[in-house]
Symmetry: C2
Subunit: 315 residues, 2 copies
């Protein structure tokens, strides 16, 4: 079986690409670990047009349900570990090159075109204690864990939108929330800053850096320093939420396509084609300026329509 | 009052731009004739992710309702008739250039940045009888009128997706639907072609051109010719639906920004900025390859975030 199109990723970009591809009657395989993606880690989504204050999980469920209305083949539960270009596909009747992707079980799939919509993974702090406490008070995802911190003290690292949204989620449960940020200014949207101020139990510590996370079976304290005068402080803490950005989930591609310095896939901005013909990148894994759900979804549509055009011209 | 941002257009691009702009606390004015846009002319929308088989009107109502949750100033009922760049805004405290737009009532509004999200308008046939029968059997919009053609004969001009969707809407009511298309091949998606075949009452006439629409108080017949041998035929007909594409609704801009040969606004594909700094174009009025609801919405978000960046760097 050689698919017309293989889509890797089950977030808004991959799902929208799938909807558009099957509507163009492309014989499509979508491979994804699950349909949760990054957005299900956000408590509440307010900026998906048409859905005011929907939970990230509910939105993803709507998208998944919509996709499954269409005749698309879906492989879940596995990650893609590698992808190579095949100069000639077997049984391809002169239709030229294609791609072969391999998943973590060893199975391989061949397609005449590929859309990479794998998004991004959370960055880690890389400090002492971090890995020991994952799931024991340390989290990269507020929605999963916020309710466990009722009447506790919690640290959030990072003061972009994700950091503020996490702090706001936590503030509903926690006694005190402390935002730690290396830089000297807040990066979150005004509306989130105001909400944080109103919450009344969120403290923002700019120009500070967490050095160490301490505890026994669970987190008990953190050690942080002030950037300007290098003073160190120990503070009792029950949890640490890391929201310092993300890196594109593009490692499995090796050197197959060109990347920018942040490991984002370089694309033609009109077609979303990567540096290799027939390979497209949609959503947060490419070098688009803004990373937003609705932008990723729009790019999923563009990538599928570009793949369709590519296949039409190829045959 | 000088707005941070003026948005022109109340379709998916304009609404999404509005949602994103007010979340960035930009003091925003959105000007639109109404919140229906082109999509409300489509009976059923199947490719807005998360909404399977929603009516165009219902989708637009969801978007409008979402926008109105936010503190945005909205001016409806009027069209923008002109836009000029002001080298220096009065009272702008050294913040440089801005734009002034005028609506059809004569009122003028000033903004420090502008997003054009005016979409496209339907193309007309330009043939004898066409203008006489607008609203009397001739339509550029299937959803508005399809139910009036129960057990009648109807012509659809154009065989792209819009033409096929219109024919399918009509086929539920009409006795017979005839698609007329100058070209020699069907441009609609496979899935729509199959549905048209299944409908059983849709006939496709390729390489034919409608020359004249005839009738008295309403349409009674059409005259068409075959392109290859120039034979003319008269055929009884109760309605004509024109679906031959659209042109960008950008006339009010004059020569303010650069356009491509189709009058689409030329944009920087990453920021959506037009050829004039501080002016952005989102959705179907710009020179993006694919015109789709979800792509337009994504672009609305990008344009608002770009406008925000522009204003931050300006002050």
């Amino acid at each position: 079986m050689i698919y017309d199109l293989i889509i890797i990723g089950g977030g808004p970009a991959g799902i929208t690409a799938g909807i558009y591809a099957v509507r163009k009657k492309l014989n499509t395989l979508l491979i994804t670990k699950d349909f949760f993606g990054q957005i299900s880690k956000t408590g509440q989504v307010d900026n998906w047009p048409g859905e005011n204050a929907i939970s990230g999980i509910a939105l993803m469920q709507k998208l998944e349900k919509h996709l499954k209305q269409f005749p698309i083949e879906i492989k879940t539960g596995h990650k893609v570990v590698s992808a190579v270009v095949l100069p000639t596909l077997p049984h391809s009747q002169g239709q030229g090159s294609g791609v072969e992707v391999q998943i973590d079980s060893g199975e391989k799939y061949q397609g005449r075109s590929l859309i990479v919509a794998t998004g991004r993974n959370a960055k880690t702090l890389g400090i002492e204690g971090e890995q020991n406490f994952v799931g024991k008070g340390l989290s990269y995802c507020s929605i999963c864990d916020a309710p466990f911190f009722r009447d506790k003290q919690v640290a959030v690292v990072g003061c972009g939108n994700a950091g503020f949204e996490t702090a706001l989620d936590l503030a509903k449960f926690a006694k005190k929330v402390f935002i730690f940020e290396k830089g000297d200014k807040i990066l979150a949207d005004e509306i989130l800053r105001e909400q944080a101020q109103k919450a009344g139990n969120i403290t923002i510590n700019l120009k500070t850096e967490i050095l160490k996370i301490e505890g026994d079976k669970k987190i008990q304290s953190i050690v942080y320093k002030t950037i300007e005068n290098h003073k160190e402080f120990q503070q009792p803490m029950d949890g640490v939420f890391v929201q310092i950005g993300s890196i594109p989930a593009t490692g499995f591609l090796g050197n197959l396509v060109d990347f920018d310095k942040n490991n984002s896939i370089k694309i033609n901005d009109k077609t979303l084609q990567a540096s290799v013909k027939g390979i497209f990148a949609a959503g947060d894994c490419n070098d688009t300026t803004y990373k937003q759900l609705i932008i990723a979804a729009g790019q999923g549509a563009t990538a599928a329509l570009s793949a369709y055009e590519y296949l039409q011209n190829k045959t």
